[in-house]
């Protein structure tokens, strides 16, 4: 009657697997496949999306992400260094910035720079600049915290050894501490790029011309023009995976490499 601990664990696993199978089956049965077929998986009508989904959508998503990342990385490094500064004003400024931009939705930042800046200053920025600033400033807040953790993970003895060799503080940072910090944060930094790739879709709130469409906007445009229901959006989603899954694999590779060198 009484089961051993190992038998109980085995039974529990079977029960869990059973629940999973039942849940999947229930969803499959509940779905209205006919409607889904014409409005979500209607691949017959999406021909016109090609090749522009590569040449415009994918290209612009990659450009917007890269622009945001460049600003985010340099801004994040500056903020991280400010946060670790011995000068209190720098620390407060950095903390204020990070808390603010991590706390507000990225969508609002896009609206602020897309519509607020023209109203306030009477200048209309190019879309690339709006993306660079909005995405970059939000990214900087997240990247700053990642880099700060990385900088603090470099052993104190590294700075001491560098200073003992006569290096000024900034030189020790540039040549000794920051390169090691980057190695440490490579995996989380890759994850930041994945988040940025997805956040670049928020540019849709601005009025874009067709040549400025990125993947999401491209997909939304397809919904209204192709008569294939939501299918174009599904295709656009698949293209995001084309970018993000390799990045994920890359992050995992970095992780296992740093785990090996740690020993």
């Amino acid at each position: 009657m009484a089961m051993t601990a190992r038998q109980r664990a085995k039974v529990s696993l079977y029960v869990q697997a059973g629940i999973f199978v039942v849940a999947v089956a229930a969803v499959i049965i509940a779905v209205d496949w006919k409607t889904i077929g014409t409005s979500v998986f209607n691949f017959a009508k999406i021909g016109p999306m090609f090749p522009d989904i590569f040449l415009v959508g994918l290209k612009n998503t990659l450009i917007y992400t890269a622009l945001g990342f460049i600003v985010g990385l340099s801004g994040g490094l500056l903020l991280a260094l400010m946060k670790l500064s011995s000068f209190p004003l720098y620390r407060w400024l950095a903390t204020g910035y990070i808390e603010f931009f991590r706390g507000v939705p990225a969508l609002l930042v896009f609206i602020a720079f897309g519509y607020g800046v023209p109203l306030a200053f009477g200048i209309q920025w190019d879309v690339n600049i709006i993306v660079m600033v909005s995405l970059g400033m939000v990214a900087a807040a997240y990247i700053a915290e990642t880099l700060r953790a990385g900088l603090q993970a470099v052993p104190k003895g590294q700075m001491e050894a560098a200073r003992s060799l006569g290096m000024p503080h900034w030189r020790a940072m540039v040549s000794i501490v920051i390169p090691q910090a980057f190695k440490i944060v490579l995996p989380p930094l890759t994850n930041e790029i994945i988040l940025l790739t997805k956040d670049s879709s928020l540019i849709y709130v601005l009025g874009l011309t067709a040549s400025q469409y990125e993947l999401t906007k491209f997909g939304r445009d397809g919904i209204s023009s192709l008569g294939a229901g939501l299918t174009p959006l599904l295709v656009a989603g698949a293209f995001y995976l084309v970018i993000t899954i390799p990045l994920s694999l890359l992050a995992r590779k970095f992780e296992s490499r740093s785990a090996r060198t740690k020993r």
Partner: protein
């Protein structure tokens, strides 16, 4: 003993002069007015129980710790002068750490060249030449292209010594250089230090290696609880201490099992 390598140029050695040095962490005073002189070319070993302040004293000499009071002179530099060019001063003071602190992202050679090129503004080729020469001096010329994590502890510490020597220091500080090493690699590091001492380098060494202190040091300083309890020629302090605290410390260090042996 006296056939030191002819290839190495004689060292321009600097002396150290410490007066009434005080250092506290909060309310805990770890250095209670230390005065100590190291003549150019002398080797002085600092011994004492852990927590006696000897490492703090050593770290004060190149201002890795900021003293609260007192003065330190290193060669022509007054280290405790608020206007002193610390970076300039540290170029002439080599430091070797208990845990080596090699730069793990740089090869052995680059560990020894980076400060030469970035701080002394030497050309890459000149820096490499100096680095290789110093790696030969510590017996590791053949490992120049390795990375620190591919070396044993003793090898890493010898690279750390070569790295410090590559800046042409006039004074070397050693902070328990063999305490983190496997026993079988301690000898290699001590041999390098012995050679350095013979070449006329000024050395201030925090150590628990009594054999090394007795053999190499010109003077031994015994510290306890933030004060210098006893100092003098190595023979006297280690073999014939006069202060009870020194005797007690040495009895424990030289005879850790407390079985009791005849006085050497």
């Amino acid at each position: 003993m006296n056939n030191s390598t002819g290839s190495t140029a004689t060292v321009r050695a600097a002396g150290v002069n410490i007066k009434d040095l005080r250092k506290s962490y909060g309310s805990n005073e770890v250095l209670k007015g230390i005065s100590l002189t190291v003549e150019p070319g002398q080797v002085v070993c600092l011994i004492g129980p852990s927590g006696s302040g000897k490492s703090t004293l050593l770290r004060c000499v190149n201002l890795l710790e900021q003293p609260n009071a007192g003065t330190i002179n290193v060669g022509s530099f007054e280290a405790t002068d608020p206007d002193v060019d610390l970076n300039k001063m540290r170029q002439s003071v080599g430091m070797v750490f208990q845990h080596f602190n090699l730069f793990p992202h740089l090869s052995v050679l680059d560990n020894c060249t980076i400060s030469q090129t970035k701080v002394l503004k030497r050309s890459k080729s000149e820096a490499s030449e100096v680095a290789r020469h110093n790696l030969e001096r510590v017996g590791l010329g053949h490992l120049a292209d390795r990375f620190p994590d591919q070396l044993s502890g003793g090898q890493q510490q010898r690279v750390a010594i070569a790295r410090a020597l590559s800046m042409d220091p006039q004074l070397m500080l050693f902070d328990e250089p063999t305490s983190a090493l496997d026993p079988e690699t301690v000898g290699d590091v001590l041999a390098v230090m012995r050679k350095l001492a013979q070449e006329g380098m000024t050395m201030l060494v925090v150590t628990h290696e009594m054999g090394f202190a007795r053999e190499v040091a010109d003077r031994v300083v015994f510290m306890d609880a933030g004060v210098v309890v006893e100092e003098g020629p190595a023979e006297n302090v280690i073999s014939a201490p006069t202060q009870p605290r020194t005797k007690e410390f040495l009895r424990r260090v030289l005879d850790p099992t407390h079985i009791g042996v005849e006085e050497a």
